[in-house]
Amino acid sequence: MLPYVLSLPALLVCIGILIPFFTSVVYSFQRYRLSQPWARQFNWGDNYISFFTDPRFWNTLEISLLYAGITVLLELLLGLGIAMLLQKRSTLNNFISIMLLMPLMTAPALAALMWKLMTNPGFGVLSYLASLIGLQDFRWASSPSTALFTVVLVDIWVYTPFIMILLLAGLRSLPTQPFEAAALDGVPRSFVFFRITLPMLTPYILTATLFRLLDSIQQFDIIYAMTQGGPGDTLTVFQVEAYLNFFQSTNVGRSAALMIILWAITYFLSNIFIKNWLRLRERARGQA
């Protein structure tokens, strides 16, 4: 009896998640605007069908995938590079890896504000540095052509340390024998990297990639704090677009449909992830 009582709060949170989730599903099949509550009615698939001919939706999908793809790829390369630089256990390396935790522990919304101050056209130090290398009047997040670059930069600043930490833990846990054998045989370093290090590191890389992909495709804090999705609709990724639809144009139906589509994408990705993760966990336990 007791276990049931103890797990009650978890069950309640579950219900607390599932009720709004199904409410979202229902909303997404309705014509529902907060400004016109009297006109609320089921329109079944209309919200979804209209997406096909809606350039704003395609823009949202494109910019979300682009943002997730660019950030995760760059963070992976950078994170792997830094992890390999820090691989050897030394006081300095350990100190640096702890220092690099700091951006990750900074609230992403606040990190965006920090970069906003640094890229201010009037006095921002980065605007000044840009002008030194010949980029006069570089507009950072306020110009449509560089806004994506700027938020990606902030994302990289915040989340690269996450990938670095996971990969560093991975690198340091690899068995040393293959590397010793390769060194004895005089195998070229690039061969060691591509044929030994990378394959053995793959589980860690996959975990880090999926974690970051799931997070990045849902990015809200950095983009909203930096530009509110602007300029124009340059950065209206899924969650920002849904937020603006809900609170500005009060179009609850469209907002809910957007969230359901994003949920479907993340559900697909997270299922791959959870299955892999459980398998790794079982295997780790089996060895212990």
Partner: protein, 285 residues
């Protein structure tokens, strides 16, 4: 490992220096801005040497900013208090409810327990607004909108699954035989939980609590959607501050410094736990 050439060591040194500069520079720069007056901040080129002033911090702490144009009220301390209160209470509630639940899940495989755990885990990766937007409408009907209780309730959506999944793993790692032996000696189920399981899972519980605190503190979207000015934590408050006060860059920097210090200090203090927790639990900044 293998011996490295001088050239390689120099290149590694340069690369590491660049990495450290890139990741540390924003924090150092904002820290420096927070000790400057607006007058030195606005100078071009940016000043590396300046006479530090505590005026920005005193303005924030007293809540009064005196300028040539008059006095301005700053409510930032209110935001800071809200952050402390919301994060501490949410984590306390989540630990109180989550640790026993994690123990139940780890030790008693009953029908539905895996389903609950899986639902929680899979929604850990779901978009926040999917759940949040309908909740705002419900909360308005229930009178929970813009209340601490409503916010703490919503914060459980981040804290509880995190604690449940991390702590459950730690409980599962305790050999059941130890507990069994203690039970056979005539101790109750609760005594076993309190005297054996809790102390053994202590580090895991600490890691989970720490991580939950950092996520609660750093959360932005929940309070943005559900709280109005007097209940907002620092993440939302700082954004409002930047738009309302426009040009008080020194105070804004000081506000950012005050807002990020608690999580940075905690992270540095307990980095060992943190790394463990990050690789075990789900991560959302």
């Amino acid at each position: 490992m293998e011996h490295t050439s001088l050239l390689e060591r120099i290149l590694r040194g340069i690369a590491l220096t660049l990495v450290v500069i890139f990741f540390m520079f924003p924090i150092v720069w904002i820290l420096m801005m927070s000790f400057q007056t607006n007058e030195t901040i606005l100078r071009i080129p940016p000043q590396l040497v300046f006479k530090p002033t505590l005026a920005n911090y005193t303005a924030l702490i007293t809540g009064k900013l005196t300028t040539a144009a008059g006095t301005l009220d700053i409510a930032f301390m209110r935001n800071l208090w809200n952050s402390v209160f919301l994060s501490v209470t949410s984590v306390a509630v989540a630990l109180l409810l989550g640790v026993p639940a994690a123990y139940a899940f780890a030790r008693h495989k009953f029908r539905g327990s895996e389903d609950i755990a899986f639902t929680l885990l899979s929604f850990r990766f779901a978009p926040a607004l999917l759940v949040l937007l309908p909740l705002t409408l419900y909360f308005q009907k229930l009178g929970l909108a813009n209340t601490y209780i409503g916010l703490i309730w919503v914060y459980q959506l981040i804290c509880l699954p995190l604690i449940l999944w991390i702590v459950r793993g730690y409980f599962e790692d305790i050999p059941a035989d130890i507990e069994y032996a203690y039970r056979i000696a005539g101790h109750s189920w609760f005594a076993t939980f309190r005297k054996i399981a809790l102390p053994l899972a202590g580090p895991g519980i600490a890691a989970a609590g720490l991580l939950a605190f950092i996520f609660a503190w750093n959360n932005f979207v929940f309070a943005l959607v559900l709280a109005s000015a007097d209940k907002q934590p620092v993440t939302v408050g700082a954004l409002a501050f930047i738009t309302s006060s426009g040009i008080q860059y020194g105070q804004i920097s000081a506000a950012i410094v005050l807002s990020i210090t608690p999580t940075l200090a905690l992270a540095l203090y307990a980095q060992r736990y943190l790394v463990e927790g990050l690789s075990l639990g789900a991560v959302k900044g």
